[in-house]
Protein backbone atom coordinates (compact mmCIF):
# COMPACT_ATOMS: atom_id res chain seq x y z
CA UNK A 1 0.00 0.00 0.00
CA UNK A 2 1.83 3.11 -1.19
CA UNK A 3 -0.37 5.36 0.98
CA UNK A 4 0.70 3.79 4.26
CA UNK A 5 4.37 3.98 3.19
CA UNK A 6 3.94 7.68 2.61
CA UNK A 7 2.25 8.13 5.99
CA UNK A 8 5.06 6.14 7.59
CA UNK A 9 7.74 8.30 5.96
CA UNK A 10 5.94 11.44 6.94
CA UNK A 11 5.70 10.16 10.51
CA UNK A 12 9.47 9.59 10.58
CA UNK A 13 10.19 13.08 9.37
CA UNK A 14 8.17 14.64 12.16
CA UNK A 15 10.54 13.25 14.75
CA UNK A 16 13.17 15.39 16.38
CA UNK A 17 16.53 14.37 14.82
CA UNK A 18 17.85 13.40 18.28
CA UNK A 19 14.91 11.06 19.04
CA UNK A 20 16.11 7.47 18.69
CA UNK A 21 13.71 5.09 16.98
CA UNK A 22 13.36 2.70 19.94
CA UNK A 23 11.75 5.38 22.13
CA UNK A 24 8.07 6.24 21.84
CA UNK A 25 8.61 9.97 22.35
CA UNK A 26 11.12 12.55 23.53
CA UNK A 27 9.75 12.49 27.09
CA UNK A 28 10.37 8.74 27.39
CA UNK A 29 13.88 9.10 25.95
CA UNK A 30 14.68 11.89 28.41
CA UNK A 31 13.38 9.90 31.39
CA UNK A 32 15.42 6.85 30.31
CA UNK A 33 18.64 8.90 30.04
CA UNK A 34 18.02 10.57 33.37
CA UNK A 35 17.27 7.25 35.09
CA UNK A 36 20.47 5.79 33.63
CA UNK A 37 22.51 8.63 35.12
CA UNK A 38 20.79 8.18 38.51
CA UNK A 39 21.60 4.45 38.53
CA UNK A 40 25.23 5.33 37.73
CA UNK A 41 25.23 7.83 40.60
CA UNK A 42 23.85 5.11 42.92
CA UNK A 43 26.91 2.97 42.07
CA UNK A 44 29.08 6.03 42.76
CA UNK A 45 27.47 6.35 46.20
CA UNK A 46 28.63 2.81 46.98
CA UNK A 47 32.07 3.52 45.46
CA UNK A 48 32.70 6.52 47.72
CA UNK A 49 30.72 4.80 50.53
CA UNK A 50 33.44 2.18 50.98
CA UNK A 51 36.04 4.91 51.50
CA UNK A 52 33.79 6.80 53.93
CA UNK A 53 33.32 3.53 55.82
CA UNK A 54 37.11 2.98 56.09
CA UNK A 55 37.46 6.59 57.23
CA UNK A 56 34.85 6.17 60.00
CA UNK A 57 36.46 2.99 61.35
CA UNK A 58 39.95 4.52 61.60
CA UNK A 59 38.65 7.82 62.89
CA UNK A 60 37.00 6.01 65.83
CA UNK A 61 40.19 4.08 66.58
CA UNK A 62 42.70 6.91 66.19
CA UNK A 63 40.61 9.99 66.89
CA UNK A 64 43.40 12.01 68.55
CA UNK A 65 45.87 11.26 65.74
CA UNK A 66 43.26 12.11 63.11
CA UNK A 67 42.49 15.42 64.86
CA UNK A 68 46.20 16.31 65.00
CA UNK A 69 46.65 15.45 61.31
CA UNK A 70 43.46 17.28 60.27
CA UNK A 71 44.72 20.47 61.96
CA UNK A 72 47.73 20.58 59.60
CA UNK A 73 45.47 20.90 56.52
CA UNK A 74 44.63 24.44 55.44
CA UNK A 75 41.01 24.95 56.53
CA UNK A 76 40.73 28.28 54.66
CA UNK A 77 41.59 26.65 51.33
CA UNK A 78 39.09 23.85 52.01
CA UNK A 79 36.31 26.30 52.88
CA UNK A 80 37.12 28.38 49.78
CA UNK A 81 36.91 25.28 47.62
CA UNK A 82 33.53 24.40 49.16
CA UNK A 83 32.24 27.86 48.21
CA UNK A 84 33.75 27.51 44.70
CA UNK A 85 31.94 24.21 44.13
CA UNK A 86 28.63 25.56 45.48
CA UNK A 87 28.90 28.50 43.06
CA UNK A 88 29.63 26.06 40.20
CA UNK A 89 26.50 24.09 41.11
CA UNK A 90 24.51 27.33 40.78
CA UNK A 91 25.97 28.00 37.32
CA UNK A 92 25.07 24.41 36.34
CA UNK A 93 21.38 24.89 37.22
CA UNK A 94 21.51 28.19 35.34
CA UNK A 95 22.90 26.31 32.32
CA UNK A 96 20.08 23.75 32.48
CA UNK A 97 17.50 26.53 32.82
CA UNK A 98 19.07 28.39 29.88
CA UNK A 99 18.85 25.24 27.73
CA UNK A 100 15.21 24.72 28.75
CA UNK A 101 14.31 28.29 27.84
CA UNK A 102 16.41 28.53 24.63
CA UNK A 103 18.85 31.14 25.95
CA UNK A 104 21.98 30.15 24.01
CA UNK A 105 24.26 32.96 25.28
CA UNK A 106 23.37 32.32 28.93
CA UNK A 107 23.91 28.59 28.37
CA UNK A 108 27.40 29.13 26.94
CA UNK A 109 28.36 31.67 29.63
CA UNK A 110 27.09 29.36 32.40
CA UNK A 111 29.05 26.40 31.02
CA UNK A 112 32.24 28.49 30.71
CA UNK A 113 31.88 29.88 34.27
CA UNK A 114 31.24 26.36 35.60
CA UNK A 115 34.43 25.12 33.96
CA UNK A 116 36.45 28.09 35.25
CA UNK A 117 35.19 27.39 38.78
CA UNK A 118 36.10 23.71 38.32
CA UNK A 119 39.62 24.70 37.25
CA UNK A 120 39.87 27.10 40.22
CA UNK A 121 38.92 24.21 42.51
CA UNK A 122 41.68 22.02 41.05
CA UNK A 123 44.20 24.89 41.29
CA UNK A 124 43.44 25.45 44.98
CA UNK A 125 43.67 21.67 45.49
CA UNK A 126 47.10 21.81 43.84
CA UNK A 127 48.28 24.49 46.30
CA UNK A 128 47.05 22.30 49.16
CA UNK A 129 48.84 19.21 47.83
CA UNK A 130 52.06 21.22 47.31
CA UNK A 131 51.96 22.25 51.01
CA UNK A 132 51.54 18.61 52.02
CA UNK A 133 54.49 17.51 49.86
CA UNK A 134 56.70 20.24 51.33
CA UNK A 135 55.70 19.29 54.89
CA UNK A 136 56.47 15.58 54.20
CA UNK A 137 52.85 14.69 54.96
CA UNK A 138 52.48 12.48 51.88
CA UNK A 139 52.35 8.78 52.86
CA UNK A 140 55.47 6.92 51.81
CA UNK A 141 59.19 6.70 52.52
CA UNK A 142 59.66 10.41 53.27
CA UNK A 143 56.58 10.70 55.51
CA UNK A 144 57.30 12.56 58.72
CA UNK A 145 54.89 13.55 61.49
CA UNK A 146 56.96 13.81 64.68
CA UNK A 147 56.13 15.74 67.86
CA UNK A 148 52.73 16.96 66.68
CA UNK A 149 50.57 17.49 69.78
CA UNK A 150 47.13 15.92 70.01
CA UNK A 151 44.49 18.67 70.45
CA UNK A 152 42.91 18.70 73.90
CA UNK A 153 45.39 16.21 75.38
CA UNK A 154 48.38 18.16 76.77
CA UNK A 155 51.69 16.31 76.68
CA UNK A 156 50.47 13.71 74.18
CA UNK A 157 51.81 13.47 70.64
CA UNK A 158 50.26 11.91 67.54
CA UNK A 159 51.47 8.48 66.46
CA UNK A 160 53.02 9.04 62.98
CA UNK A 161 51.78 5.63 61.76
CA UNK A 162 48.20 6.52 62.64
CA UNK A 163 48.55 10.00 61.17
CA UNK A 164 49.81 8.37 57.97
CA UNK A 165 46.51 6.46 57.74
CA UNK A 166 44.67 9.79 57.93
CA UNK A 167 46.79 11.24 55.12
CA UNK A 168 46.34 8.08 53.01
CA UNK A 169 42.57 8.50 53.30
CA UNK A 170 42.89 12.24 52.68
CA UNK A 171 44.84 11.75 49.44
CA UNK A 172 42.74 8.86 48.15
CA UNK A 173 39.39 10.54 48.89
CA UNK A 174 40.31 14.04 47.68
CA UNK A 175 42.32 12.56 44.77
CA UNK A 176 39.39 10.42 43.63
CA UNK A 177 37.15 13.45 43.99
CA UNK A 178 39.58 15.54 41.93
CA UNK A 179 39.58 12.80 39.25
CA UNK A 180 35.78 13.11 39.11
CA UNK A 181 36.19 16.87 38.68
CA UNK A 182 38.61 16.33 35.76
CA UNK A 183 36.14 13.90 34.11
CA UNK A 184 33.40 16.49 34.73
CA UNK A 185 35.51 19.15 32.96
CA UNK A 186 35.81 16.77 30.00
CA UNK A 187 32.03 16.29 29.88
CA UNK A 188 31.48 20.04 30.11
CA UNK A 189 33.98 20.69 27.30
CA UNK A 190 31.79 18.53 25.05
CA UNK A 191 28.63 20.26 26.33
CA UNK A 192 30.19 23.65 25.54
CA UNK A 193 31.14 22.53 22.02
CA UNK A 194 27.62 21.19 21.40
CA UNK A 195 26.01 24.32 22.87
CA UNK A 196 28.28 26.47 20.68
CA UNK A 197 26.98 24.59 17.63
CA UNK A 198 23.47 25.44 18.80
CA UNK A 199 22.26 21.85 18.99
CA UNK A 200 20.56 22.16 22.38
CA UNK A 201 16.92 23.19 22.21
CA UNK A 202 14.06 23.32 24.73
CA UNK A 203 12.89 20.01 23.16
CA UNK A 204 16.29 18.28 23.44
CA UNK A 205 18.95 19.22 25.98
CA UNK A 206 19.22 15.94 27.91
CA UNK A 207 23.07 15.96 27.94
CA UNK A 208 23.04 19.31 29.80
CA UNK A 209 20.63 17.86 32.38
CA UNK A 210 22.46 14.59 33.04
CA UNK A 211 25.91 16.22 32.83
CA UNK A 212 24.56 18.61 35.46
CA UNK A 213 23.38 15.70 37.65
CA UNK A 214 26.94 14.32 37.59
CA UNK A 215 28.42 17.71 38.52
CA UNK A 216 25.99 18.16 41.44
CA UNK A 217 26.83 14.67 42.72
CA UNK A 218 30.55 15.51 42.77
CA UNK A 219 29.59 18.67 44.70
CA UNK A 220 27.67 16.57 47.27
CA UNK A 221 30.69 14.29 47.80
CA UNK A 222 32.79 17.38 48.56
CA UNK A 223 30.11 18.72 50.95
CA UNK A 224 30.83 15.63 53.10
CA UNK A 225 34.61 15.49 52.52
CA UNK A 226 35.13 19.06 53.73
CA UNK A 227 33.90 18.70 57.36
CA UNK A 228 35.17 15.11 57.67
CA UNK A 229 38.75 15.80 56.56
CA UNK A 230 39.31 19.48 57.38
CA UNK A 231 37.26 20.12 60.51
CA UNK A 232 38.09 17.37 63.04
CA UNK A 233 38.38 18.87 66.53
CA UNK A 234 39.32 22.36 65.32
CA UNK A 235 38.18 24.18 68.46
CA UNK A 236 40.92 25.55 70.77
Amino acid sequence: MPDSTLVGLHHEEEHHPELLHHFADAEQQRDASSLGMWVFLATEVMFFGGLFCAYLIYRRWYFGDFAAASKTINMGLGATNTAVLICSSLTVVLAVWAAQTARRTLLIVSLVVTMLLGLAFLGIKGIEYTDKFEEHHVPGASFSFNNVPIPGRPGEYANPRHAQIFFSLYFVMTGLHALHMIIGLGVFTWLLYTAWKGRFTPEWHTPVEIGGLYWHFVDIVWIYLFPLLYLIDRHP
Binding site: A42, I223, H235, P236
Partner: protein, 97 residues
Protein backbone atom coordinates in the same frame (compact mmCIF):
# COMPACT_ATOMS: atom_id res chain seq x y z
CA UNK B 1 10.35 19.10 33.87
CA UNK B 2 9.55 21.60 31.18
CA UNK B 3 5.87 21.09 31.99
CA UNK B 4 5.99 23.50 34.93
CA UNK B 5 8.45 26.03 33.57
CA UNK B 6 5.77 28.72 33.49
CA UNK B 7 6.95 30.11 36.83
CA UNK B 8 10.66 30.91 36.76
CA UNK B 9 12.69 28.72 39.16
CA UNK B 10 15.53 31.26 39.29
CA UNK B 11 14.49 32.72 42.67
CA UNK B 12 14.53 29.22 44.16
CA UNK B 13 17.96 28.48 42.68
CA UNK B 14 19.48 31.63 44.15
CA UNK B 15 17.80 31.01 47.54
CA UNK B 16 19.28 27.47 47.64
CA UNK B 17 22.69 28.88 46.62
CA UNK B 18 22.60 31.43 49.50
CA UNK B 19 21.51 28.69 51.94
CA UNK B 20 24.41 26.46 50.83
CA UNK B 21 26.96 29.27 51.29
CA UNK B 22 25.47 30.10 54.70
CA UNK B 23 25.68 26.40 55.66
CA UNK B 24 29.37 26.37 54.69
CA UNK B 25 30.03 29.43 56.89
CA UNK B 26 28.03 27.87 59.73
CA UNK B 27 29.92 24.56 59.59
CA UNK B 28 33.30 26.37 59.73
CA UNK B 29 32.06 28.47 62.68
CA UNK B 30 30.64 25.41 64.50
CA UNK B 31 33.99 23.63 64.14
CA UNK B 32 35.67 26.37 66.21
CA UNK B 33 33.26 25.84 69.14
CA UNK B 34 33.81 23.17 71.77
CA UNK B 35 30.58 21.21 71.60
CA UNK B 36 32.14 18.22 73.39
CA UNK B 37 30.81 15.05 71.73
CA UNK B 38 28.48 16.91 69.37
CA UNK B 39 31.01 18.54 66.99
CA UNK B 40 30.89 15.64 64.54
CA UNK B 41 27.10 15.36 64.75
CA UNK B 42 26.66 19.09 64.04
CA UNK B 43 29.14 18.98 61.12
CA UNK B 44 27.46 15.92 59.57
CA UNK B 45 23.99 17.37 60.22
CA UNK B 46 24.81 20.58 58.34
CA UNK B 47 26.47 18.58 55.52
CA UNK B 48 23.36 16.40 55.20
CA UNK B 49 21.05 19.44 55.04
CA UNK B 50 23.29 20.93 52.31
CA UNK B 51 23.41 17.66 50.35
CA UNK B 52 19.62 17.33 50.62
CA UNK B 53 19.14 20.87 49.28
CA UNK B 54 21.39 20.11 46.29
CA UNK B 55 19.61 16.81 45.54
CA UNK B 56 16.05 18.10 45.97
CA UNK B 57 16.33 21.44 44.17
CA UNK B 58 19.46 21.48 41.98
CA UNK B 59 19.12 17.84 40.88
CA UNK B 60 15.32 18.23 40.70
CA UNK B 61 14.49 15.15 42.80
CA UNK B 62 11.66 17.17 44.37
CA UNK B 63 9.97 17.71 41.00
CA UNK B 64 11.25 14.55 39.28
CA UNK B 65 8.59 13.34 36.91
CA UNK B 66 9.80 9.77 37.26
CA UNK B 67 8.94 7.89 40.47
CA UNK B 68 11.74 5.50 39.45
CA UNK B 69 14.26 8.31 40.02
CA UNK B 70 13.10 8.68 43.61
CA UNK B 71 13.27 4.90 44.04
CA UNK B 72 16.91 4.85 42.85
CA UNK B 73 17.83 7.70 45.24
CA UNK B 74 16.17 5.96 48.19
CA UNK B 75 17.79 2.60 47.26
CA UNK B 76 21.25 4.21 47.09
CA UNK B 77 20.78 5.84 50.52
CA UNK B 78 19.38 2.61 52.00
CA UNK B 79 22.38 0.54 50.93
CA UNK B 80 24.83 3.25 52.03
CA UNK B 81 23.21 3.31 55.50
CA UNK B 82 23.28 -0.50 55.57
CA UNK B 83 27.03 -0.44 54.79
CA UNK B 84 27.89 2.26 57.33
CA UNK B 85 25.32 1.29 59.98
CA UNK B 86 26.09 -2.42 60.18
CA UNK B 87 29.86 -1.90 60.01
CA UNK B 88 29.90 0.75 62.70
CA UNK B 89 27.51 -1.14 64.99
CA UNK B 90 29.97 -4.05 64.79
CA UNK B 91 33.06 -1.96 65.56
CA UNK B 92 31.28 0.08 68.24
CA UNK B 93 30.25 -3.01 70.21
CA UNK B 94 33.63 -4.82 70.19
CA UNK B 95 35.80 -4.83 73.29
CA UNK B 96 39.19 -3.20 72.77
CA UNK B 97 41.34 -3.38 75.85
Amino acid sequence: MSAHSTSSPLKMYFAVWIALLAGTGLTVYAATLDLAPYNAAVALGIATIKATLVALFFMHVWHASEKLTKLVVIAALFFLLLLLGLTMSDYATRLWS
